[in-house]
Subunit: 144 residues, 2 copies
Amino acid sequence: MDDRHGQAAGNYEAILREAGVRITRPRRTILAILADGEDHPGALEIFRRAAEIDPAISLSTVYRTMKLLEEKGAIQRHVFEGGPSRFEQAAGRHHDHLIDVETGDVVEFRSDRIERLQEEIARELGYELVSHRLELYARRRKPD
Amino acid sequence: MDDRHGQAAGNYEAILREAGVRITRPRRTILAILADGEDHPGALEIFRRAAEIDPAISLSTVYRTMKLLEEKGAIQRHVFEGGPSRFEQAAGRHHDHLIDVETGDVVEFRSDRIERLQEEIARELGYELVSHRLELYARRRKPD
DNA sequence: CTAGCTGCAAAATATTTGCACGAAT
DNA sequence: ATTCGTGCAAATATTTTGCAGCTAG
């Protein structure tokens, strides 16, 4: 079965444990939310969802945990046009994002051709590619 | 001759005048800086350069002017990873950016192939492309 | 036990805005 | 003259941090 998410929750804990980091109550709560989410929530949204489970949790802890997870490579941070940071599980292979400009929804996609072209361009300019960011801002096509 | 910049300064004024906007001292100062710059300065950097010419200028005015110019389509705003907004003249044809992760320098490039692929991907996903953002974060290749 | 976490409040960063005065048309 | 723009200070939004108490290992 494709229990990508339930699996990922355990995976997060494993990653943190291995890094010698304590598994605390707030962290477990946040991890569960990340593992559950099909979307790309921001810090505040994660905080809201976490507060429902454990009202004692603080926004600072959400931010601290996100930073920690990002450093450990467990999640990825995205900053789409004019908005706050939003997060997603790092599990799965690399992909880029299409953002629905009307709803804010995010669609993931991947193009090996574009990936290759990027490497090529960087090389041509005398650089070594470290990372990249490709975002398509688009509007759902109406069948006219 | 390729007096892209001197020309652009006048161009800015024309754009603003046409929009029924007053050409004031601070605006003229900021416009001159934009027209001059070969780089992608942020609001604070523009403010610093402007203050050298006219110490009375305020940071608010820089922000207000940038917003105005952006609305009029005279400049483009970029928000690169983890930094404040940076601006560039909208003149010239579309291009993407490679950011030197060590120095923050920006190299402009353009790839018709990538442009086409993006259109294609959006269409395949059932969307109509509105705009996009492609940034390559890279490090200068050392000749080993 | 005790180093690492947490919540809270305050700071930091980037940007926007209300207001009374001054300048452009 | 009148409207629009400015500087200043205060407000906003997002994220980070100092600190004293709490807790996981």
